[in-house]
Symmetry: C2
Subunit: 178 residues, 2 copies
Amino acid sequence: MSDADNPQVPPASGDTERRPVDFYRAETYKAEESIGYLMRRILSAVAQAVETRMCEPGSPTFPQWLPLYKLHVGAATTVAELARACELDAGAMTRLLDRLEAKGLCRRVRSLEDRRVVNIELTEEGRAAAQEVPYVLSRVQNEHLAGFTREEWEQLKGYLRRILDNAQALAARGDKND
Amino acid sequence: MSDADNPQVPPASGDTERRPVDFYRAETYKAEESIGYLMRRILSAVAQAVETRMCEPGSPTFPQWLPLYKLHVGAATTVAELARACELDAGAMTRLLDRLEAKGLCRRVRSLEDRRVVNIELTEEGRAAAQEVPYVLSRVQNEHLAGFTREEWEQLKGYLRRILDNAQALAARGDKND
DNA sequence: TGACAATAATTGCCCAGACAATTAATATTT
DNA sequence: AAATATTAATTGTCTGGGCAATTATTGTCA
């Protein structure tokens, strides 16, 4: 569905060879046309919208909701697991947890089996906040998609996932080429 | 093209009334489906790709390319103008310029007409770097769009712009409601 | 077993952005 | 003209990420 339904594809030398494009050209480059620029603006707008809807003191911030949610659904319990699950630096996660702990939303408990690891537990307030997360986020994202049809939404997600796939493929090559 | 070509639109009470949607639901919320989450990952991947292609010491970072470019094309000359053009906080811009100046890419010149304002001038190195910007950015973004058709690219940009329009409409209401 | 490698968490040092307060200079208003 | 508002730039303080080093602990292997 993503690639093979289009003519004049090059020899397809590898497994997932993608047709190169030249939509952007240096001579005519415009920031407003840039998907990176557009996404940057969208993200900061979404973040702001989320935080104006979680305004109680002690509420998590926009970057904090993902770790909180992953903890709540049991997708991760240690710092390293959480960092991996959120695709975040371990050091950044340590400090994010410092802030969550300072807000009384979680607790660090040193593991007894492996004394290197720290298990993270949500407090009562943390669980309460984590339960709100999907409500706030789904509402905010729905608001930003006002006027979209379901097909358009699916298409958008598909495009974003394809870009991510490209990014991962590039990162994988990255070291060898260039 | 964006809104009026779909049936069962509500009475359209205002000028730009958009049909509300409920694609995301709290009960079934998944982070991987979230456009915010996807965009966050894409942005950090793009930023990383850009910076691995501008690796000479003294090169601008990904967040620095926009101010540099705006300066180069003459879209802004003062700190405040630049901050507005990049939709960035003035304080953040001051410090970003500190770093650009430390790299020898730009220079601050106090205005003589209005002694409050500081005019920013690119140095020779700054101009050279600014000229590279569109090449690097268009290459990186093209790479991330590998496999896209031109129509898909146009559609993607249209979706992003519609989301941004929604964000601005929400922010405009923001104060009154809620 | 003892040296060495791998892993977990933390810390320091960067860059980055938001918000609030401050200072200096210019506009406006009475 | 004097008081007041507005604007430009800066600074302080906070959250947030990335990268590199460090420390403690656990695994591995000769």
